[in-house]
């Protein structure tokens, strides 16, 4: 088990740097650079542009720029944003709590909606409740989250002259205001995962409910609650948890879109802006963080299997 964890942790490094290298290359394939984004004017002299490029180290060969960045990261220095000249680390530190709140809240939304619906659909298979649940999940699955987010934002504004507050207030400062802003975003973001989770929990629960040991539990005269929750659900959750793990990638990717739509100053919005401004230092810092969370979450998901199903062993 310990060896397994060590191996997985060591494997994280090539993964993460592979990701940042890919981002670096993609960024440089796209036309324009941060100096042009900052100046945006044709009349600035070439000399001025060259000087700014030199100041930012953009005049060096690409491999040198990347190596410089990697060496600094290994020393624990994520560099300085090419746009705002603030340290990437500080920027991330300010923004991570916002994204974390959004991700946790949408996870909570997706569990709170999906699990009860999934269970209900399974134990009342082919009833009205089941059909309604399945209809909702198909709808949520088909709706792109940026569209859902825009609707949640704009429709109340058109109908009632109300919209979620656009000026972000931290949770610690005014929880009620903060929730008015983050909850709609979490709903839009969590809708997709809740649909996936709902369908998954329904089908695995249906399968488990047909197993011999569940029939034995019914035969012992246990109540429906005990049979479903204690005996069936725990086993049915293993594939669901895998799905949760993979949904995390959706959530993290979705924060980019959702934070932009709802003006939440998190890592996602910073990523969107960094792409727009060709600020590859900030972008790579953000991507390193997002990929890091992703890799760690995958590891944690794998490890929870052995807790849920003691037959699973890692070598």
């Amino acid at each position: 088990m310990r060896e397994y964890i060590i191996r997985r942790v060591l494997l994280m490094f090539p993964t993460l740097f592979g990701v940042t290298l890919a981002v670096f290359i993609l960024m440089h394939l796209a036309p324009g650079d941060v100096v042009m984004a900052k100046l945006s004017e044709d009349y600035v002299t070439q000399e001025h542009i060259d000087r700014m490029r030199a100041e930012l180290g953009l005049d060096k060969p690409l491999y040198e720029q990347y190596l410089f960045w990697v060496t600094n990261v290994l020393r624990g220095d994520l560099g300085t944003s090419l746009w705002s000249a603030t340290p990437v680390r500080d920027e991330l530190a300010r923004r991570i709590p916002v994204s974390a709140e959004l991700a946790i809240l949408s996870m909570a939304v997706s569990i709170a909606i999906a699990l009860p619906l999934g269970v209900l659909s399974a134990i009342r298979q082919d009833t009205v409740a089941d059909y309604v649940g399945r209809f909702l999940s198909i709808s949520a699955l088909s709706a792109p989250n940026f569209w859902l987010g825009t609707l949640i934002l704009v429709l109340p504004a058109i109908w009632f002259g109300w919209a979620p507050p656009v000026r972000y207030v931290p949770l610690t400062q005014d929880p009620w205001m903060n929730l008015q802003q983050v909850l709609p975003a979490a709903l839009a973001l969590g809708a997709h995962s809740s649909a996936v989770v709902m369908r998954m929990s329904r089908s695995t629960l249906l399968e488990v409910l047909r197993q011999d040991y569940v029939r034995t539990a019914w035969a012992k005269g246990l109540s429906e609650r005990v049979v479903v929750v204690r005996h069936a659900l725990k086993n049915a959750l293993i594939p669901v948890i895998t799905i949760w793990g993979s949904q995390l990638s959706h959530l993290l990717g979705g924060t980019v879109v959702m934070e932009t739509i709802f003006s939440l100053p998190g890592v996602g919005l910073a990523t969107f802006q960094a792409i727009e401004r060709r600020d590859f230092v900030q972008l790579q810092g953000n991507v390193l963080f997002i990929a890091g969370v992703f890799v760690v979450m995958n590891l944690l998901v794998d490890l929870t299997y052995s807790w849920l199903d003691p037959r699973i062993r890692y070598r």
Binding site: W83, L153, V154, A163, R167, Y168
Partner: protein, 547 residues
Amino acid sequence: MRLLQTGFVAGALGLLLVMVAGCGPAAQPAASPEGQPSAQAPQIKRGGAIRYAQNGDPPTFDVHASSLGILTNQTRATHSRLTRYDYGKERGSLLVVPDLAERWEVSPDAKTWTFYLRKGVKFHNVAPANGRELVAEDIKYSFDRIRGPAPSIWTGQYSFIESIEVADKYTVRFQLKQPSASALYRFTDGEAAWIVGRDVLEGLAANYGKTHKSLVGTGPFMADAYDRGVALKYKRNPDFFGSGVSGTPYVDEVEVLIINDAAARLAAFLSKQIDYFSVPLADLERVKSSVPGGQIIENKGTNTLSGVVVNVSKPPFDNVKVRQALKHGVNQQRIIDDLFKGAGSWNGFMPGGLSSWAMPQEEVKQLYRHDPEKAKQLLAEAGYSGGFKGDLLVFSQYSQVYIDVAEFLVADLKKVGIDLAVKLEPVAAGRKAVEEGNFALNNSAQITGLEPDEFVKDGLVPGGSRNFGRLNDSKINDLAARQSVLVDAKERRKIVDEIARQVAEVVPFVPIPNQWSYNAAQPYVKNYFPDNVATDEPIETFIWLDK
């Protein structure tokens, strides 16, 4: 009259110098709603906070290091210039009025400009300036910085200044290398000409430009707080000199929200979280119906020259008759009627939004009239009676309107025998092709500016940074040089009109109509005149809130 501009007859250059401001003196309250309330106007209410949105954080807080609107939105609140543009309905007339300078004089040879400063103007009462008085030394320091090397991006634009001299505490003298018609515009430029204090830059040292605390000037508002990615907040400067209107600014606070998403800006306006914004056309009806009593301001002109630049070095466009055929083949009215649904105006040379320089619509309509028969005849005279084929370059990932208009141009020109194919290229690659001359026709926004020199000297003359059509017309070259040193605006206007007529004759450029744009404001926002020609004027200074 506050202005004491003096008239002179220029000797050697034969320049007639009447009013330096060109368009007349400043004190014209009738033409300008910025003054004190008139008899029938409601009593101005003080206090409250203005909120509006912009789509990103400023790249820097160094007021001379970027021309992006996301920076100048801040600078215009906190800083001042020697002169400013009049605020009001006729923004396009670009009437220059005093700001930090209470008056100015120009020498007979138009090479010496003397500005007399208002006395008692104070910097913001925060460190490092601590409310000290503005003096002539600050003007010299600022303009030396603007015309100096990086971080200023304006070095090239201010090279017309030879030297700056402090005559006394409140008088500063600019010595120009040669007379410059655009000098006053440069002194007034809302992107560049902001006055800073040496003590502010030296006090903040390496931190200057990095935080909102760099925004210490003499402007109507003081930087209060900055939450990166969320908002910039300003509070009223109690010591503000008023910009010529006592009691300004009227509001206590300005908050600039950072909202990246267009739908979010719409939602923010509909839910009254922001007070005004630029309405995308698609949302115009929605805004009208959802905000009862809301103000919609129609901007009928822009300061962007839009249309097809013709590379006159590429056959068959090296033949002037072919180019004239292009001009008469295009139907501007049909584009206005069918594409813009009536919400547009004709364009000639000098964009329609610059009302003091653009030709009257009637003349434009005559010069660029749609006349397919004439176009065919011109083509026949040029030896292309059978027509010809070619490419029309349009940038993708750019404004959609140029792609839509291109389809209309193609259809119009096909009828006269010019068979064009729209060639879409990403904007970076496309611009490169245009700059290097590897194109024949390019439909795009060509030049944005406020001053004839930006259109004439940059756009039409050999060596001009935006003479993409490679025009070298001796008449235009001569007129361009003459207008550039002519400080008298009325005389200059005549030459600019002559240039515009010659442009219609030699056709290095086929204009397309401009589409009107729209701004919306909440019902309670008073004295709101959106900045449709991008003068970067501090509009928040004069706005008040009736609530």
